[in-house]
């Protein structure tokens, strides 16, 4: 098992290198002159040339990549063209927002999906099953931004339960912060909830037929105990992998949700930077989000060993 973990970590390195490579060249291929956009109307060519030289944008691409990668490894993500601030500083300010949003969304989606999935499995092929599944599938079928705006209209303007804009970090004021995050997190959670519910349902179905469940039932254990202690624990393995993969969906979805709900997170930063042709910021931000995703999947993979001891590691 330790071996497996080490190998998993070693695979990490080439993957990361390719990720960095892709990010860099993808961003450099973005058409449009960032300097021209930054300086706006009426900038003269000399100014543009001077700024370009200063930012190193006049060097050959492979050299730019080498320099960039070198500094990224050292933790320097460069300076934003638009704001003239270190990209890492901006990421550090925004990362907590995105991570709280997505984690909260993860929690909500698990709260919604695991009971739904379990119930659907227990009442397999009955009206209840259909109802639960339809409900979760509906959640995954509507465009996120539309759901977000509709929920703002209903819960914020009509009912006045939640604020419509703004953000207060939950580490500064937990309850107030929460009111700002509930709507976006639930909107974001719906998609994942649907997927996880379906996964839970099918892995539960699989486990429920296994012998030891019948055995546990025969031993006279209560149905609830059987379900939670035995079935869920074993069905949780596949569900967990789904959660890992789905976390990527949450991070991607955050790009949209943060714009709808005016949250100062990484997703909004990516979009602002893309539209401003702010190369260093786009690079830093996409790379960072990919990193989070990779790390989370790594953690999930390692956790998987706990939930599914049947897996072999060679």
């Amino acid at each position: 098992m330790l071996n497996y973990s080490i190998r998993r970590l070693l695979y990490f390195i080439p993957t990361l290198f390719i990720v960095a490579f892709m990010v860099f060249f993808l961003v450099r291929l973005i058409p449009g002159d960032p300097i021209q956009v930054m300086l706006g109307d009426g900038a003269n060519p000399e100014t543009i040339a001077a700024v370009r030289e200063k930012m190193g944008l006049d060097r050959p691409l492979p050299i730019q990549f080498g320099i960039w990668l070198g500094s990224v490894v050292k933790g320097d993500f460069g300076t934003s063209i638009q704001t003239n601030r270190p990209v890492l500083q901006s990421i550090r300010e925004r990362f907590p927002v995105t991570i709280t949003l997505t984690t909260l969304a993860l929690l909500f989606s698990l709260l919604l999906s695991i009971p739904t999935g379990m119930l659907a499995a227990v009442y397999r092929n009955t009206g209840k099953d259909y109802f639960f599944m339809l409900l979760t599938i509906l959640g995954v079928s509507a465009p996120v931004f539309w759901l977000g705006l509709l929920s703002l209209l209903v819960f914020s303007v009509k009912l006045g339960w939640f604020p419509s804009i703004g953000f207060v970090p939950i580490w500064e004021d937990f309850w107030t912060g929460l009111t700002y995050l509930i709507l976006p997190a639930v909107t974001l959670a719906l998609h994942m909830a649907a997927v996880v519910a379906r996964m839970t349902r099918s892995s539960m179905l699989e486990v429920l037929r296994l012998e030891y469940i019948t055995h546990a039932r025969a031993k006279g254990l209560g149905e609830g105990k059987v379900l939670i202690k035995h079935a869920l624990k074993n069905a949780f393995g596949p569900t967990l992998t789904t959660i890992g993969i789905q976390y990527g969906q949450l991070l991607g979805g955050a790009v949209i949700t943060e714009s709808v709900f005016s949250l100062p997170g990484l997703g909004r930063y990516v979009m602002v930077s893309i539209h401003a042709r702010d190369y260093p910021a786009v690079q830093g931000c996409i790379l960072f989000m990919a990193l989070i995703y990779v790390v989370i999947n790594l953690v999930v993979d390692l956790m998987y060993t706990y939930f599914d001891p049947r897996i072999e590691y060679n």
Binding site: V37, R85, L149, L153, R268
Partner: protein, 519 residues
């Protein structure tokens, strides 16, 4: 006056006096205190005002910083940090006399050294100042004494005064010691304005706080000049990108003021939101929307074709599509509100389908494709494109939309790579800087007189001379159709009815001095 009417007259007089007296306490009595939450549609891009051309940064930081000279209500030059200025007869020396006792937020007094430092700073290559070329004619700057600074010019260029005063980029007078101390990356902007900087949480808010030691200038509030009193304790600018969300925030009273009401929503505001205590204001700005026509590209290089285009377009259709009708028809690069505007600038083509078709035939037009380049960044640009396309198609011009990213449009505009291009411009108090764009569509190359007009106008501030020159420029535009200006755009803003003393400035800059919140 007959006897019988006298009592009626008297009664009216008394009534009006009572009205006048009773309305005074209602209108006046500004209250100090409170925080104004302002919904803005994009975040500021930098806190160092010299490094960005974004209008929103200039608008927000215009409360923290002050210019040497500024623009007045009608876009005329007004004194701000400079009390007055003198121009030598040959235009080659400009001397500024500074206001005494102006304090920076760090308590230091603003002096001629800071002014010299500022204008040297924006001219150095290290600083990404977007309008360097406007100041390229400065030879050197001399500190005469603590409160006097003199600019020596390489050649006569009085347009530079307008560039100093211009809305954006904000040519803020910065504190030399602070900038030196903080280094290139400014973290704590120190200015002389009525509000001081507290914090900028990107995409969350920008917070400003009243500078207690601010001494307002004498005279009535006038553009950036005149009396600027800070009643509000704090100003909180909150960027909200989603238009609907911004409106919802205003309805929820989460913001006190919204600087951008979508044109499509104006009726809804007037009909329904007014009842909820939301005040809407609308004013025509000097900002204009237009198409630029390239004078050297196939098909559009033909003058008859361009004239046919001018005859094909119904301006009202464009106005509706772009602004939902919230603008004033206008034809010239010299805006209606400009000091150099004369009715002559209203002359333009009227829609005449028959003439358009006849000219097309004379031009030998044969259904060749003509591209309209447009970015999707601004909805009004796209609206112009939709309308122009359908109007051109109606007379048989095979017009195609070429929709692109903003960055690519800018590139196309400066790279001579368009046939018809849609753009809009913010107020240009000095029309010389407006006619700058004639360089980009090949106009100046084809008609060199245009460049001469600009040169001559830049060399003088004499109103009559300038008016004559700009009328000549407009006549050239009529004769050669290098562009089609459609309108001067309205600015629509809304606020809660307890916000008092605020009014839209047509120039497009927000001003929260003289504004208070009723408790």
């Amino acid at each position: 006056m007959k006897k019988g009417t006298y009592p009626v007259f008297l009664a009216l007089l008394i009534a009006s006096v009572i009205l006048a007296v009773s309305s005074t306490p209602l209108a006046a009595a500004p209250q100090r205190g409170g925080t104004l939450n302002i919904g803005i549609n994009t975040d500021i891009t930098a806190i160092d005002p010299h490094t960005t051309t974004a209008a929103i940064t200039a608008s927000v930081m215009g409360h923290v910083y002050e210019r040497l000279i500024g623009l007045g209500e009608n876009l005329e030059l007004v004194p701000v940090l400079a009390e007055r200025w003198e121009i030598s007869d040959d235009n080659l020396q400009i001397t500024f006399y500074l206001r005494k006792g102006k304090l920076f937020h760090n308590g230091q007094e603003m002096t001629a050294d800071d002014v010299k430092f500022t204008f040297d700073r924006i001219r150095t290559p290290e600083i990404k100042f977007g309008r360097k070329k406007d100041f390229a004619d400065i030879d050197r700057i001399e500190v005469v004494d603590k409160y006097t600074v003199r600019f020596y010019m390489k050649k006569s260029n009085l347009s530079m005064l307008y560039s100093m005063a211009y809305l954006s980029p904000l040519v803020a007078v910065v504190c030399e010691d602070e900038v030196e101390k903080q280094g290139e990356k400014m973290t704590n902007p120190i200015g002389t304005g009525p509000y001081k900087f507290v914090e900028w949480k990107p995409d969350r808010h920008i917070l400003l706080e009243r500078f207690e030691k601010y001494v307002p200038q004498p005279g009535p509030k006038n553009g950036f000049g005149g009396e600027r009193v800070a009643y509000l304790d704090k100003l909180k600018f909150i960027p909200i990108t989603e238009e609907s969300a911004a409106t919802m925030a205003l309805l929820n009273k989460e913001v006190d003021l919204l600087v951008y009401v979508p044109f499509g929503m104006v009726e809804q505001f007037k009909n329904n939101y007014a009842k909820k205590g939301i005040v809407l204001e609308e004013k025509t700005s000097p900002n204009w929307g237009e198409i630029q026509i390239h004078m050297q590209k196939p098909v559009v290089e033909n003058l008859k074709f361009r004239q046919a285009m001018a005859y094909a377009i119904d301006r009202d259709i464009v106005l509706q599509a772009a602004l939902k009708g919230h603008g004033t028809p206008h034809s010239s690069w010299v805006a209606r509100k400009n000091a150099y505007y004369t009715p002559f600038h209203d002359k333009w083509y009227e829609k005449d389908t028959a003439k358009a078709k006849k000219l097309l035939k004379e031009a030998g037009y044969n259904g060749e494709e003509v591209n309209i380049s447009v970015s999707k960044k601004y909805p009004m640009h796209f609206g112009i494109a939709v309308a122009v396309q359908s109007e051109l198609q109606a007379v048989g011009i095979n017009a195609k939309l070429k929709v692109m990213e903003w960055a690519n449009l800018i590139k196309a505009m400066y790279g001579n790579d368009f046939e018809i291009l849609i753009c809009s411009h913010t107020a240009r108090p000095d029309p010389v800087t407006a006619y700058f764009y004639m360089k980009l569509n090949g106009m100046e190359e084809k008609y060199p007189r245009m460049a001469q007009i600009k040169e001559e106008a830049a060399g003088t501030l004499d109103t009559q001379k300038r008016i004559a020159l700009f009328e000549e420029a407009h006549q050239m535009c009529i004769d050669t159709v290098p562009s089609y200006v459609f309108y001067n755009q309205n600015i629509v803003q809304a606020w809660q009815d307890n916000v008092k003393g605020y009014t839209i400035w047509e120039a497009g800059m927000q001003r929260y001095w003289g504004v208070w919140k009723e408790k």
